[in-house]
Amino acid sequence: MVSSALTIQDILPFRANNKKVDMDAFLPFIVLPFLLLIATISRTITIIIMVVIGMGVLYVYTRPRQKNRSPFFFSWTMSSAVTMFLVFEIIILGLLEVTQLENFIFLLLLACTCYFFYKMKAIADFELATGSSKGKEYSPVLTSDSYYCQVCQIEVNERFFHSIWWDCCVLRPNYVYFLAGQICAFATLLFGTNLGLTTVCQPFIFYGLILLPEDCNDAYYEFETPVEKTCERIKRVK
């Protein structure tokens, strides 16, 4: 009986902590799609929402770092990526204007991005767990190339910086993956937005090579028809 009372007491505060952490992690998955949905109303509102999000990011950077690792920013990164992916694959592909090869290239770039960032996080977590970057002999004295990461609350060697958006430290071992991930992410975003904008806007051929968006005046009118058009066309194809 005593043991059961102890276990209940143990569970309760643990659960309270868990709830707070979960809220932070799920908030971006609700807030971000909602903001983006509002942004589709008109061009002015799109600009306002983008400025608000940009200012929010700047504010976050100027705040003093929290002691605890908050999952909010990492969740924001993940929810951005997931929202962009879903919007692209469901709505843009639904207009039947992207070819299979183009989508394959996009998915390949996206897979490379995800792989590099996953490796980066895996290495950072591994270093944190095993502490092998601290050197073979544990020394209680901070050496010149060891830093104390306030957010991770641990001492790491050769830390370049702590990235809140990926919720991990970027160290020498995983810096290559960080760079490669950034380059792949840039390529994916560039290609994805080119495909998306040339689908929604009126495109033109630039020097006979690539399509670029030209006239986006219709983009806000078109919003009601793509989903309906998609369903109709898929039915007809069948």
Partner: protein, 315 residues
């Protein structure tokens, strides 16, 4: 270690699943499709002129250089003017004077409150380079019901048949052909001419698309009893025509993507009509009863303007 191994397996499986899901070809438009090669085009063209066409020229027109023309016209021509002495007769009819044309085409354009002057200037400038006998019919819907593109095309086709044209081109008013090598003449099978539109990223959304600009022989159009008159509002009347053609075992053909380039003008959103899928699923059954044979409308006026034949109707 086992946990991370399991996570890796889950991520790998999700990645593979995503690639498998997105390898279904029905999800995509097509940048390449089956088409008639450039050197075969002249073989596939159906040569027929109006029965009452008289020409004072000595030689037949030669179309080899037109088919092999690599130039592209700019849509900015809509802001220009026609050349002086264009020789276009009242009603928008033109017969080339320097040679005897081999093709007679009626271009039928359903219309309501769009930009017309630019379209006409561009099309007459475009056709000067093609040396065909053509006439432009603009069918305008003057009532306030939703736009019924198919019925207007039926009315225009009936007018073209009366005027003796063997070949008709059903043309949307917001599409401009960019290549003079895209000959506005009929092929032996009905042809989907607008397969590479700039608005659709020069990609064909689906293989059975039959909207935009199509060319069809009047004998074939009569055989399928034209288009259905029931489609008020946007959408599906082109797929109805396609299913009628399939029911009569007609196949459609296209020219290559470079030749079939079109420029689409942005236009206001059109409201979709109701009951689309119901109409479309019974397309074949309605074929005999609904079409050219059951065309009832009020003809408000027919005017022969200098650049086009204007037929105003109340549906």
């Amino acid at each position: 270690m086992r946990c991370s191994y399991r996570k890796k397996i889950i991520y790998g499986v999700i990645t593979i699943l995503i690639f498998i899901i997105f390898s279904h070809p029905g999800l995509y438009g097509r940048s390449s499709y089956e088409f008639i090669e450039k050197h075969n085009i002249l073989k596939y063209l159906h040569e027929e002129v109006n029965v009452n066409l008289t020409s004072n020229a000595f030689t037949n027109c030669d179309y080899h250089d037109i088919i092999n023309d690599e130039t592209t016209l700019s849509p900015n021509l809509i802001e220009g003017d026609l050349v002086e002495g264009h020789g276009i007769r009242d009603g928008g009819e033109y017969i080339p004077q320097d040679c005897r044309p081999k093709f007679s085409t009626a271009i039928i354009v359903p219309y309501r409150a769009e930009q017309l002057r630019g379209f006409l200037v561009y099309m007459h400038t475009f056709f000067r380079r093609q040396r065909i006998h053509y006439r432009i019919f603009i069918i305008e819907q003057v009532d306030s019901r939703p736009f019924n593109r198919a019925k207007l095309l039926n009315i225009g086709a009936a007018a073209a048949i009366n005027a003796g044209f063997p070949c008709i081109v059903l043309h949307d008013v917001d599409l401009l052909p960019l290549r003079p090598s895209n000959l506005y003449a009929c092929t032996k099978q009905p042809r989907h001419m607008s397969s590479s539109i700039n608005k659709f990223r020069f990609v064909l959304p689906y293989l059975t698309l039959f909207g935009g600009v199509i060319s069809i022989r009047t004998s074939q159009y009569k055989m399928v009893n034209g288009m259905s008159n029931e489609y008020f509002g946007w959408g599906a009347e082109d797929d109805d025509l396609y299913s009628r053609l399939r029911a009569c075992n007609f196949k459609i053909c296209r020219f290559g993507p470079e030749i079939s380039q079109y420029h689409m003008f942005s236009h206001k959103l059109q409201r979709k009509g109701k009951l689309r899928s119901d109409l479309l699923s019974f397309a074949r059954k309605r074929m005999a009863a609904d079409g050219l044979s059951s065309l009832h409308y009020l003809e408000v006026a027919t005017v022969l303007h200098p650049l086009f034949t204007h037929i105003m109707v109340d549906l």
